[in-house]
């Protein structure tokens, strides 16, 4: 904790960044924006930090204040690499204050982040409990699965907290806000809720690092990670895709290989 605060303070003091985005040392660990060296004493990090701070990097308010530094556990580091691959971060404008558990790992630029991930986190895997939940759901009949989601999606109020929490949701105009034509109904009703959540998850395939911020942000407790996990597993198994490791990766959706599977095609 001390090392993190010192590193953040140093960055601000030396004016290498104008802002450090971190977690505040109070209950719930909300996001905290340190603009002055003396603010850095309020920074904290531990396992209870669920928010993916990389989500702020897409916001115009933050972009106006580049360069910035972000406190980044491994999933956030991967998000930074994803955003770099998708040309969302101007080169050299974002530094990562890498943290893991209780330890502070240092300050890294984009290339350093990718290197750190490869060296230290190349075997990050989804939580087994999550995959078990996916498997459990898949073992049910299609009607039971539909009923499960019917019950879940009926709770959705369309607050879009899931979108706001996600670093991959950086579009300036989300598809759900497109109204000519309106592909996704905005009324908080079954079909619109379904299409929204399914498309939100699909639009993140190749981007999602399974950080869990969307699910954590959902005030209604929707099991959004099930959708993310099934796509993550499929992308890994079929295409060897592991988002957030290669800053020069081609987009998963938007590239292809001649030997991609098509056994299900007739």
């Amino acid at each position: 904790m001390k090392a993190l605060r010192e590193a953040a303070e140093k960055l601000l003091r030396e004016k290498r960044v104008s802002l450090v985005i971190g977690y505040e040392d109070r209950k719930g660990r909300p996001a905290f924006f340190a603009a002055k060296p003396e603010d850095c004493g309020r920074l904290a990090y531990d396992a209870s930090c669920r928010q993916n701070l990389a989500a702020y990097l897409g916001k115009p308010e933050i972009r106006a204040r580049l360069p910035v530094a972000v406190v980044a556990p491994p999933a956030v580091l991967r998000s930074i690499v994803v955003l770099t691959a998708e040309s969302q971060l101007p080169p050299g404008q974002v530094l990562a204050l890498a943290v893991d558990g209780d330890s502070f790992l240092g300050t890294f630029d984009a290339a350093g982040v990718a290197e750190l991930l490869r060296a230290k986190y190349s075997t990050l895997a989804p939580e087994p409990a999550l995959l078990e939940r996916v498997q459990g759901l898949l073992q049910k009949s299609p009607a039971e699965r539909a009923a499960f989601w019917e019950a879940e999606f009926s709770k959705c109020t369309r607050c879009y907290a899931c979108r706001a929490a996600c670093p991959g949701c950086y579009c300036s105009r989300c598809i759900v806000e497109k109204n000519a034509p309106q592909w996704i109904s905005t009324a908080a009703l079954g079909h619109g809720n379904y299409t929204w959540s399914v498309m939100r998850a699909f639009h993140q395939s190749g981007r999602c690092t399974l950080c869990g911020a969307c699910e954590a942000a959902c005030p209604q407790g929707l099991p959004l990670m099930l959708l993310n996990a099934v796509l993550d597993r499929e992308a890994l198994e079929e295409f060897g895709s592991r988002p957030g490791y290669d800053p020069e990766a081609k987009p998963l959706i938007g590239s292809w290989s001649a030997d991609d599977d098509h056994s299900y095609m007739r």
């Binding site: 969302q88 950086y170 579009c171 598809i175 034509p181 987009p251 959706i253 938007g254």
Partner: protein, 657 residues
């Protein structure tokens, strides 16, 4: 306010028999936005078209749906009719009531219901259609021909004769290609160089042709009508402007023992050389890999003897850009390396040679001055075995396909050998003799009957070299049903025809497809054999598939005709189905840029008046875009849309179902 007209065609009885056309037009008339619903016996006939034209004018229609045959059949017809009546042709759509409905269903109620659905979908779509204009792109009336063999020479000459400029690029030091290496040609046995060299000279001296030898395509930008091609002019170390071709340099060069590629390695050349005496341009180049001056800085003899000071050891590769409107790829072929056949000596037996080596042995201008001498000891071979289909029709080790020219040139080889060595024995092993061509079968018969070539139907299983230097050829005579062993002095393998190395990379530069063997893919195997999937890029010769000379020349002339056709108008017109980017909402994730098969989607910087970059977005080049719409569907925010198949149109279609 939409005013749609719906016109249902009976197509005689073709639609009318199973679809109640009157019911469909009546139902259509009640659909939202529809002001006219009519049906008629033959909508594509003149009175039918007149009905449509009249309705467009009188009813002030803003859109038309024709329920008739497949749009692949008559969309063009009806759109032309609409245009004549003053309606933008892209405001007309067709519902496929024949191929997709009346012809495939027999129940009238079902078919009629489906027909109504199909019409409703198209009405919903056409209400969202926008007037489109064909895309016009200016054409740069200069052609690029890649490859200076007979295909490239012919294409260049024909285009030049049509009054258009040509840039002819050849990777070697001289044009002429493989044809210049041949001794005589089948089926007439006329001397290859005698018929070729006048054309080489003509190509070099034609005012419309710019010759770039010792040059290669380095990169390609642009699209049909507007390519910018970067040519790498390889360092020659001899200034062609100063060189007179006197030959003092290569007569003095001390590095003498380099196998000459032109002679299939049978003859020797110097480090500074012209590949063959009739080369065009007849000016030497220095082979940097073998020149001691360029490698070690020692020698410099050629510079000393050159009376014109043309030698320049400091010469370097240069890049030159040319702007062209069309491209002819004529990169030709090479022979497959029979070293892959261990049973034929794995390439180690010196007296087992390929067809080109035999051509050079038989050529009056070759390393033996036309005398048949075998490479190992220079003796005249008394028994020569010719083996056809070496690497062809063998998908285990070689190639699956038939190389097409080998039956004929093997017959020619056997014939030439018998003409030169009267007491010699020529044995040809063959699988089938494929002599389909004018005068070809007669030619093969002549080789067998008049010139006494012994044709043995069967394969050779092994060639070994005995201590006395004889090649023991073990084969099967499948007609006699027994194994045969022949003690031969020389074996000529008719190696498979394969594309030139690097041809795949070139295809990728131009966006041309190629098959698993690396031969370039034509746009349609029957009806567009000269075009490629890349607009404005045409094919000539053996780069597409194995071909003999007449076929190559025919295709080269066809490619030239295609190029001249393209150049006949100052502008090109293309279907306006292209993608557009909404720059306001584009988040620049670059998925579309990665996905575009044509490189049409690219980065675009939005700048302010001072030129400062405000934001980067994606953009689509109208000239390159072919309208597949892949970019639109990878765009998460739907900031890319496809004219003719817009989000709104598809959404409306789905809502109408």
């Amino acid at each position: 306010m939409a005013r749609i007209g719906v016109f249902i065609c009976h197509c005689g009885e073709n639609i009318g028999r199973t679809v109640d056309c009157a019911a469909v037009s009546a139902a259509a008339a009640k659909m939202p936005g529809v002001v006219v619903g009519m049906d008629y016996k033959y909508m594509c006939s003149d009175p039918g078209q007149q009905m449509i034209r009249k309705a467009i004018i009188e009813q002030k229609l803003t859109g038309v749906v024709v329920g008739a045959c497949s749009p692949r059949m008559h969309e063009r017809t009806f759109r032309a009719a609409a245009a004549e009546a003053g309606l933008n042709p892209y405001l007309l759509e067709m519902a496929n009531l024949r191929e997709h409905c009346s012809w495939v269903h027999s129940n009238q109620a079902e078919a009629t219901q489906k027909a109504i659905d199909l019409v409703r979908v198209m009405v919903a779509k056409v209400r969202r259609n926008r007037p489109l204009r064909p895309i016009r792109v200016p054409v740069e009336p200069t052609a690029l021909v890649v490859g200076g063999g007979i295909a490239g020479i012919q294409a260049a000459l024909d285009i030049a004769a049509g009054g258009k400029k040509v840039v002819l690029v050849e990777s070697g030091p001289s044009i002429g290609g493989h044809m210049a290496r041949l001794s005589e040609t089948f089926p007439t046995l006329d001397c290859s160089q005698c018929i070729l060299t006048p054309r080489m000279v003509e190509a070099a001296s034609h005012p419309n042709i710019t010759l770039m030898t010792y040059s290669e395509v380095a990169s390609v930008e642009g699209f049909v009508g507007n390519f910018t091609v970067t040519i790498r002019r390889k360092a020659r170390y001899v200034d062609p402007a100063k060189c007179t071709g006197c030959g003092d340099c290569f007569n003095k060069c001390p590095i003498k023992k380099i196998p000459n590629e032109f002679d299939a390695g049978l003859g020797l050349r110097r480090a500074i050389y012209v590949p063959f005496p009739q080369a065009v341009p007849n000016k030497p180049v220095i082979d940097a890999a073998h020149c001691t001056m360029l490698q070690k800085g020692k020698c410099g003899l050629c510079a000393k003897v050159c009376p014109r000071g043309a030698i320049d050891y400091q010469d370097q590769d240069r890049l030159e850009k040319v702007k062209v409107g069309a491209v002819v790829l004529a990169t030709g072929f090479q022979l497959w390396d029979h070293a892959a056949y261990g049973e034929y000596g794995g390439g180690r037996l010196r007296d087992v040679i390929d067809g080109f080596a035999f051509e050079r042995l038989a050529s009056a201008s070759g390393p033996t001055a036309g005398l048949i001498k075998r490479p190992s000891d220079g003796k005249e071979p008394k028994t020569v075995v010719f083996l056809q289909c070496c690497g062809s029709r063998d998908d285990k080790v070689g190639k699956k396909y038939c190389s097409k020219i080998c039956c004929m040139y093997t017959a020619k080889h056997a014939m030439l050998y018998r003409h030169k060595v009267h007491d010699g024995r020529a044995v040809v092993f063959y699988m089938d003799v494929r002599a389909a061509g004018k005068g070809y079968e007669e030619f093969v018969r002549r080789a067998i009957e008049a010139d006494g070539a012994e044709y043995v139907r069967g394969r050779v299983s092994r060639i070994t070299r005995r201590r006395d230097g004889k090649l023991v050829v073990l084969g099967a005579d499948t007609l006699a049903g027994r194994p045969v062993t022949i003690d031969a002095d020389l074996v000529v393998l008719a190696d498979a025809v394969v594309p030139r190395p690097g041809s795949e990379k070139l295809a990728q530069l131009f966006g041309v497809g190629y098959d698993q063997d690396g031969f370039y893919s034509e746009a349609h195997p029957k009806l567009r054999p000269v075009e490629t999937a890349a607009a404005g890029v045409f094919l000539a010769g053996a780069c597409q598939a194995p071909k003999d000379i007449p076929e190559t020349v025919s295709q080269a002339s066809a490619a030239a005709a295609k190029v001249l056709g393209l150049f006949a108008k100052p502008e090109l017109e293309r279907e306006p189905v292209i993608a557009r980017v909404n720059r306001t909402t584009c988040a620049h994730c670059r998925a579309c840029i990665s996905a575009c098969p044509y490189g049409a989607a690219k980065d675009f910087d939005i700048v302010d008046r001072a030129g400062k970059v405000l934001r980067a977005v994606a953009d689509v080049n109208e000239g390159l875009c072919q309208g597949c719409g892949t970019c639109a569907s990878v765009c998460r925010s739907h900031s890319v849309d496809l004219d003719g198949f817009t989000d709104e149109q598809i959404h409306a279609e789905l809502n109408a179902l």
